[in-house]
Symmetry: C2
Subunit: 454 residues, 2 copies
């Protein structure tokens, strides 16, 4: 081990309790963006933490929640950006928590709290890493850092793309570390090269001004049936989306993508058990399950119509609506898909189906052979003593695209403190203290070496 890494590890080991205490303090502050609870207080707390760690801090108001930016220059002009968010998911159902979600508690080497893995523990680990690297270099960082903490990740990051575009100079960097990552079932780490985009829409039909008696169903137009017919026109039974031009911009996976996908851990049995799944979409099994992430999807998040209580109610409902999300693969564009969806519905005669855009993210995919990825792989395998897994495309969506392109096609990696059973978004969310330490070491090594890539 190099003397610098030894110094980093000693520093982090010695100061671990202090960083855990800082994590506890941050997690004790609710910041539920879905209902605005504690969000502004948490933004201020993040700004205070950044200041305490020696960053130059700016708080930016947005149409939603504040964005906190902390910066510090280093010996090299190269700069590494850390993306985090200080908002958390709602903690409900509360009765399923062993200890209250905003009273962080250590049990069996784990720290339990809402947001501890997603994403507050990661934020403090990154501050710990910076402190350790500075200490190892007599107080000066080898490269510059920019910490960005937004407050709307759990509700769709609606304002971050505009924020980045308006603050390109402030955020200028040569690479970024995203939230997430952490330890897989084999004890190793890895990264995801990209994520799918998403178009969230609400489809709505209202053919009457109020519900009518179902004894008149032979004459009263049904908004529910109408919406169902519209939905069926969008996707066939084999998951093929029928909107003309929907697949025009789809880039198929490369040979390398497929190799990387095939090398991912096999979660089939675990998913079957965890979710009680008897058959996956289109009967997929084995490696085809992994490869299917390159298929864009049309999912119904929710469907609302008419009477939903116990028993029956003799009505033809006046209104029906469905929340639909399209997950988009590179290089599909949610704005283009939205226009094509509208055109498709119109051409099929569904002019009575309204489409309301609820949110959009673009797909993003970094290059597998970027030197930053290679460096993360080398450091990750050395530290975790396990193969580094590169997932070419994650199924979800995040605002990576909002940073990567505008900041000059920077490479982005994941590097976190979570693990495969961290119960993100669920009751008893937790991190393992050992992962926090190892994750901090990993982050510090990356930060320490980042200047050398330039």
């Amino acid at each position: 081990m190099t003397p610098i890494n030894e110094s980093i590890d000693t520093y982090l080991q010695t100061n671990l309790e202090r960083y855990i205490a800082e994590t506890v303090r941050l997690c004790a502050q609710p910041s539920i963006s879905a209902r605005g609870e504690g969000v502004r207080e948490c933004a201020d707390l993040v700004a205070e933490l950044f200041t305490q760690h020696g960053l130059q801090v700016q708080k930016f108001e947005t149409p939603g929640n504040p964005v906190i930016v902390g910066r510090l220059s280093g010996r090299s002009p190269r700069t590494l950006l850390f993306y985090n968010h200080y908002d958390v998911q709602p903690p409900e159902p509360l009765e399923e928590w062993t200890t209250p979600p905003f009273e962080p508690t250590i049990r069996d080497g784990m720290l339990f709290a809402r947001g501890v893995g997603d994403d507050k523990g990661e934020l403090t680990a990154r501050l710990a890493a910076m402190d350790a690297v500075r200490a190892a270099h007599s107080g000066e960082l080898p490269c510059g850092v920019v910490y960005v903490a937004e407050g709307e990740e759990e509700v769709g990051s609606h304002n971050i793309a505009a924020f980045v575009r308006e603050h390109i100079d402030l955020l200028k960097c040569n690479g970024a570390v995203w939230e997430g990552g952490g330890v897989d079932e084999e004890g190793g780490t890895g990264t995801t090269l990209g994520l799918r985009g998403v178009l969230n829409v609400e489809l709505e039909v209202q053919l009457m001004t109020m519900d009518a008696h179902s004894g008149g169903a032979h004459i009263f137009p049904s908004s529910v049936w109408r919406l169902i017919r519209a939905l069926v026109s969008i996707k066939d039974e084999h998951e093929r989306i029928l909107i003309p031009g929907f697949y025009d911009q789809v880039k198929p996976p490369t040979e390398l993508d497929l190799q990387l996908l095939d090398a991912q851990p096999d979660h089939e049995a675990r998913m079957r058990e965890m979710l009680g799944i008897r058959e996956f979409v289109n009967g997929l099994t084995g490696k085809d399950l992994g490869r299917a992430v390159f298929n864009p999807t049309c999912n119904i998040q929710g469907f609302t119509a008419g009477y939903q209580g116990p028993g029956s109610k003799t009505i033809v409902p006046a209104r029906a609506s469905a929340k639909v999300d399209f997950r988009l693969v590179p290089d599909q564009d949610p704005v283009d898909i939205l226009a094509k969806l509208r055109r498709h519905l119109d051409s099929q005669g569904f002019t009575d189906v309204t489409v309301t855009k609820k949110g959009a993210m673009w797909p993003f995919k970094a290059s597998a052979d970027d030197p930053f990825i290679a460096m993360a792989k080398r450091i990750g395998e050395e530290l975790y003593q396990q193969p580094y897994r590169i997932n070419p495309l994650g199924g979800g969506s995040s605002p990576e695209y909002a940073f990567a392109g505008p900041l000059g096609n920077i490479p982005i990696i994941d590097a976190g403190v979570g693990y495969f059973n961290g119960r993100g978004h669920a009751p008893d969310e937790n991190i393992r203290l050992a992962d926090f330490l190892q994750g901090s070491q990993y982050l510090a090594r990356i930060l320490n070496e980042f200047a050398s890539l330039g």
Copy 2:
């Protein structure tokens, strides 16, 4: 006018206030079967009223709410049965009532209260009619009467069919007066010869044990899409039901049925305005709207799946369900249709769609040329001075079938105290006091002459 009818009218006019007071008392007692509120108290109040009017009263427990039966024999062995129900719809939304639903109030010659038209005012009018006929005949009725008041009509009359089958001797009669009827827009009255049956089912799909992240929609099976595919397999875009054998027992309307339908008042413009309808089912207009009641229907009362709050939630829902009602025409059988629905779903591969029966009623249709109908027509036209309308088939469903067949194919007529704008099931439900008087006169004349049909 005959001396008997003169005596009847004088009696009813003189005692009107007393019967309105009785109606007020009955309506002041909540009896919301949907949530059991006040139902048993109301049953006891009905039994008390029956006793006060000189009926021999029996209270029968059922698996649901009690059935109250009041009987009195007459000079002739012929007997007329009156069907009523003492339960009412929930009064919500309360804020839309001008005066509270269970504080009956007279305004502008109308009595406002939940249940006053449906069906408590009709019950008291029938007691008034009996009193008037007895008074005109020195205390003895010309025919026997059986009053049946059940307490579950507003929740599907689940126990009345079994009750009738178990008490055939007690309920023996030669004809029945149903609830409903009253005054149409032209000031006349009429009857409906029959009603459609209904099969209420809940279709449910659950392909996962819990909701999963919609970033996995390319592999996670969607219960919502699955349910939608199953529904689409049941009915085509032109309202044709695709279940094999569904139409086997359908009896098409006769030439007389069509004539009677064509003679019904034209509600097209009113329905368009009231419900904001631009286009009826299958583009129907004019007389075809009336005739369509002979088409059985498959209606979706409600559809429940996934997230229904504001914004989006990134889930593939684990479960989806739909409340579906099939309105059935003579001689379709809901038990047969349920079996055919299950077979159809299985044959289409939808073995993963569960079907739960929530209720069933059989269709019923009386003969248009029954002497009882002819008598009601003659009396109705004489009293109301307007053509008597005979509707061969109503779109809704009621337990008429549960009485008519088991009691020996008795004829059934409507004769009520309501009117076209009585706001049944809605806030500010009301009857006009003048209709109450006229309806009582009509009922009394029918009761007075019923013996003569034998």
